[in-house]
Amino acid sequence: MRTSDQPLPQPPNDDRPGDDWICGWTDAGMPCQHGPSGKGDCPALASCRPRQDDQSPVGWVCHRPACLGGPCEAGPDASGTCGLTPEPCTPKRSWRNRRRVAASLCFLSSIGFVLIALGGPWRTEAFAPGGLVQPHAQILGGELKSDRCASCHPAARGGLFDWFFDAGNVHAGVTQTQLCMDCHHKTIDMNTARSAHNLSPAQLQLISNSISERSQGLHGLLPYASVDMHDIACATCHREHHGGDNDLSALTSQQCQACHKNRFSSFAHGHPQWSDWPYGKRDRIAFDHATHLNKHFAKDNTKFDCKICHQATVDQEIGRTASFEQAARAVIKKPLRIGIDEGLAIVQFPMLDTQAMSAAGHVVEAWPDDARGVFDGKLSPVLRLLLRSDPATRDVLKRLPVDGNIGHFNPSNPQDMADAKRLADAICRLTDALADDGYEAIAKRLSHATGLDESTVGKLAARLSPQLISAARMHGCDKMHRL
């Protein structure tokens, strides 16, 4: 037998799904015609208003109109009450009403949840959006929980209201950067804390002047930094709450280039040669930090202090390097320096990339080990004067920059390698001449270079300490010869 064989009646067609309440007798199959009120009351209205009729045994007759079903069988009672007066029901919530109640409960629960989370001392934990980096976490670990957020966030310093709105209290105007500086003022100058790389506007201006013009091409189209160079919040680059292992100083190459105008696609591809960099120092890291930290400084029991080298200066070597003397003073002592204690350096052994020179066919054997590395260092004016008398170096000296810096020598440039070889040979010949002839050799070379008579320049040479020259020979050239 099929389902269709059992015809079933259709339900009443007075659905009101938009109402909040439905008749309590709906499921019982006998909902009343009038339905509950919007407040959920059952009016228990009768179907009709019986009419008085003396002919009727009870004195009343049913008066229900035909369109409502006509007179009912039950009929009114003696009190004139309609026989179809429904038993009052307990109206039920409609689906719409139940859904609204559920949404309201969720709304109230979430507000309660937030209030509870905000209301107790645990709110700093509850609302922290993630872990701090290890150093910060360790430092703030000692703080009271309630003060933890306030250490860095001015908004957490006032009452609960301040967490959401600026209440204009005593902490108004205090920035997060200022709170950073509460701890970092020992290492960062307060005046330049909000400047890029902690440089003053004047220093940044100097850099900007020397920077090459804006790159062309796709990368040149990228917009520049959205921050003011002279007013950068710490959090612009140092994003916290990303866990203990987060590198606070990590920046992408694109982020560097947001400020730096010379654009490239990445460090791996298209990055400008360091030799051409405005710093004009080197094409790779010249200073082996690891060796110096673990070997040279450790051997000498000297503190490896970054600030010794990385200081802001007014020249172009901003924060990157110090002079060779300053940098190596602590550990290299005096072996590579011959000169007057308070005066000029006469003989210098600049850093030569002997490997690159050898590769280019210019082998330098007699050269101090400590002066082997990458091309670096300046030839002092006195040394250049002394070398100028050597005919083999005249062309080389002309090609050197005014300050005698050889840092720009490019290992891949054969001319530079040949020049370096000729300089190295010339310096060795000078030290040999000094060792052999002492004052005379100096006077002779100075006279040749300056055009002054030998007596005049002899007075200058006479001021040189013979011990120094001797020591230079002992510590430098002898060693070279031993090699």
């Binding site: 009101r16 938009g18 009120s37 009709c48």
Partner: protein, 584 residues
């Protein structure tokens, strides 16, 4: 037996329910002596339907008082009126709705519409007293179980409008009654008058009398036919003389019964094959076309023979044509080719009024004035196979067409259709309806369904609004421009005539109450005040029909089911196909 005061007649089935059971034999005798009945030829009436029988069963006597509105412009009616005594005035201009007691529904502003959210009553069907009592310049007068509208300022209205006074022996309202057309004028009793109201069945029988028949036809041809032909889009380029020639040659035919809505409740249960066979045949497939058929009112089914039965291909309504393709083909065919026969049959569904234009007239006066691109394509093959192939390529499945005709849904101009394959039964449509009607939904999501499409029981604002027939106060009316049928509750007397007449059960009678939940009762009869409630297409809202706007799944649409193209487009859109490609 043979008593002289009685008339022995063999009462036909149709007179089981006389128009007025209170009609007495002496009333019949009195009527029979009045013109024009006295002059009628008794012999012209068959024995089964004698004139006296018509007068007894299809007529009733109405006494109207001065100022009483008898018929209203725009109303649908199935009866004509013959003035016996007194006079009435035909208002030639349009009367303001206020004068007829109708409260004009005005579209609310946005703020007012939104504010109604907070004004929503706590109880169902709440009305203020103003909303359920007549306002404006009219009043309702109850007499017996019915009521009438009276114009308050009758003299002023006569002064302000052109009126035509007609008196005893004159008839009005016969064209509306015969051809199911809206009344063209409002008629008000000029003085206390006696009228004979003749329902359409009786009027048709009275046409047996040649004089009356000629008079009725003359009236129709004079006042209606030219208007109707002019309104036919295909005839828009016809010059006046050609149009007149067409009108002169046009024959008027009627099929079926005007009261199709009462028959339909019985016949809807028939299987399609029997249903089709029971429908009067208007034109038959395989016969040579002799006339171009123009549907004037009612509905027709286009079908063709398929196997041992008939297959529905389309249905036609007011303004549609039948046979044009074949006539065009035959007119323009090469001389050596034989003429083709009608490719399909036409059957009357319920009732059908048609205009028949002979093919010679069509060829001479019509086709020269129709654009070539508006003419149907010629028939390439005239055989059964070609017809079957043509049938299969139909845009709308036959099953759906037959279902729509079976349920008479093609009457719907704004039918609510729901794609049950997309409807999540969320009832947002019903809730939206409630929101725009003070919390009272005007439909329930139920109705006949076929092939995953539900034709929901909401007012369809029918092409043939049978609900409007018989409203004693004209409370249910149709908007002249939008065609929306709405109830003016202030003059609705709650008689339930419209609800009973609606074959789709789309009108509900509801007891109304005040804001405190107290039911209104009539002070004289102690009966609860009932009002007819139905969909009004949210005409008072800025939004239009809220049900359609509220459906989140694009499942509900209001469609003109008389327009097959609209239905077909919608069905193909819902089935993710394009028109012209069949569903997989």
């Amino acid at each position: 037996m043979g008593h002289s005061t009685t008339i022995d007649i063999r009462r036909p089935q149709r007179w089981d329910e006389p128009f007025d059971p209170a009609m007495h034999d002496r009333d019949v005798q009195w009527l029979a002596k009045l013109p024009p009945f006295a002059a009628m030829d008794r012999e012209a009436f068959p024995a089964s339907t004698p004139l006296e029988g018509v007068l007894k069963n299809d007529c009733r006597i109405r006494h109207v008082q001065a100022g009483e509105v008898i018929v209203r412009e725009g109303d649908y009616g199935n009866s004509a009126f013959l003035i016996v005594a007194g006079s009435v005035r035909v208002v030639l201009g349009q009367l303001p709705p206020d004068d007829l007691g109708r409260v004009q529904t005005e579209r609310q502003g946005w703020l007012s519409a939104v504010a109604s959210l907070w004004r929503r009553p706590l109880y169902p069907e709440v009305r203020s007293i103003d909303q359920i009592t007549p306002g404006g310049a009219s009043r309702v007068k109850q007499h017996g179980d019915t009521a009438s509208i009276f114009l308050q300022d009758f003299d002023g209205i006569i002064d302000r409008h052109n009126t035509l006074q007609i008196g005893p022996g004159e008839m009005f309202g016969e064209v509306s009654a015969m051809y199911r057309a809206p009344r063209t004028s409002t008629v008000v009793a000029d003085s206390d008058a006696t009228l004979i109201e003749i329902r359409w069945q009786g009027l048709r029988l009275l046409r047996r009398d040649r004089a009356l028949a000629d008079q009725l036809e003359k009236n129709y041809r004079t006042h209606w036919l030219m208007v109707h032909l002019r309104e036919t889009p295909l005839f828009r380029f016809l010059p006046e003389n050609a149009l007149q020639a067409v009108a002169d040659a046009t024959l008027l035919r009627s099929f079926g019964r005007l009261e199709w809505n009462s028959d339909f409740r019985r016949t809807r249960q028939l299987p399609p094959a029997k249903q089709i066979e029971s429908e009067p045949l208007v034109a038959m497939e395989g016969h040579l076309p002799t006339d171009l058929l123009l549907i004037r009112s009612g509905f027709a089914r286009v079908c063709s023979r398929y196997g041992e039965g008939h297959r529905t291909l389309a249905y036609l309504g007011k303004g549609h044509m039948f046979g044009l393709r074949e006539i065009v083909h035959n007119t323009f065919r090469p001389p050596n080719q034989p003429p083709i026969t009608l490719q399909e049959s036409l059957r009357a569904v319920g009732f059908l009024d048609t205009l028949h234009i002979p093919i010679e007239v069509v060829a001479q006066h019509v086709l020269p004035f129709i654009r070539r691109d508006e003419l149907p394509d010629p028939v390439l093959r005239d055989d059964q196979t070609a017809r079957a192939e043509n049938d299969i390529a139909a845009e709308t499945p036959t099953g759906m067409l037959e279902f729509i005709v079976q349920e008479r849904l093609n009457n719907g101009r704004q039918a609510m259709v729901i794609d049950l394959n997309a409807c999540t039964r969320c009832d947002d449509c019903v809730k939206a309806c409630a929101t725009t009607h003070d919390g009272n939904p005007r439909f329930t999501r139920r109705g006949p369904a076929n092939d995953g499409i539900q034709f929901t029981q909401a007012c369809m604002h029918c092409a043939d609004p049978v609900c409007m027939i018989g409203c004693p106060t004209g409370a249910i009316s149709r908007h002249a421009e939008t065609g929306t049928v709405s109830v003016h509750e202030n003059i609705c007397i709650g008689c339930g005539t419209c609800a009973a007449a609606c074959p789709y059960e789309n009108i509900q009678m509801r007891a109304v109450r005040d804001r405190n939940g107290r039911l209104y009762f009539d002070e004289s009869t102690s009966l609860p005040i009932m009002k007819a409630t139905k969909c009004d297409m949210c005409q008072s809202q800025p939004s239009g029909p809220a049900c359609q706007a509220a459906c989140p799944h694009d499942a509900l649409m209001r469609l003109d089911l008389g327009n097959l193209e609209e239905l077909s487009d919608w069905m193909h859109r819902r089935r993710f196909t394009t028109r012209g490609s069949r569903d997989a």
